[in-house]
Symmetry: C2
Subunit: 117 residues, 2 copies
DNA sequence: CGATAATGATACGGACCCGTAACGATCGGG
DNA sequence: CCCGATCGTTACGGGTCCGTATCATTATCG
């Protein structure tokens, strides 16, 4: 079920969605933060700092700081793992789920509006 | 020629491309910077600081700083407009064009790999 | 126990970015 | 000519992020 898209379409889609994100005054997330957020919301729990760091190929402090920021924005929450208290389990929030959902709708909508070529 | 894509597909595509960008050690551009870069490379020249600021709905210093950063990365160049020396014309570079092209191919490739649902 | 390993958080110096405000340079009309 | 308008840049104070190194806490295993 491959999704066929031409390079020029891909670029216009990419640009338009980013323009929308900037325009809507959403949090100006970096590529890293976006990757972290979507990983948390798309991959199966549980998510740990170490696991996310491995998946992204970055150091642990990067994840910790990103979680700090997203926590302030209400996009994720952290909780101690009671079975292994060294671990921290990253949890989703309603606000985060809504933000992800809004992003999905944005991409779908802008893709639908793409002209040929 | 609408491009049909489901929300879950959109999210997986978005996540995977961002993961690739992080992994490939590309510059960790923010949403704003990405929007600026793609606007320069997709919209017809000439591009000015003021024009970009209007299109993105941000202040001029934001554009100036983004151009500083992308200039260091070799993605864009600036030149004085000789007809109206108040203006600065933003120009594309070979490196920038290659980076944009690579992004396009990345999106196309990851879209092709998307499963259904 | 005690030693070792593993996890996530923190400290540090440096870099970048933000928004507001001010600035120098340039144009253009009276 | 000069004065206002316009352009892009810079200054400022505050915030975030980076990578490296180190830390406290907790688990594991001899």
């Amino acid at each position: 079920m491959a999704l066929e898209i031409r390079p020029s379409q891909a670029l216009r889609l990419w640009r338009q969605v980013h323009l929308d994100l900037v325009h809507d005054g959403q949090a100006d997330l970096s590529a890293r933060q976006t990757a972290i957020l979507l990983t948390i919301y798309l991959e199966l729990p549980p998510h740990t700092v170490r696991g996310l760091a491995q998946q992204l190929g970055v150091t642990k402090p990067v994840i910790t700081r990103a979680l700090d920021t997203m926590g302030k924005l209400g996009l994720v929450t952290r909780r101690r793992d009671e079975f292994d208290r060294r671990n921290v389990v990253i949890q989703r929030t309603v606000a985060g789920a809504l933000a992800v959902e809004r992003l999905a709708d944005l991409v779908v909508q802008r893709a639908r509006e793409l002209g040929p070529g």
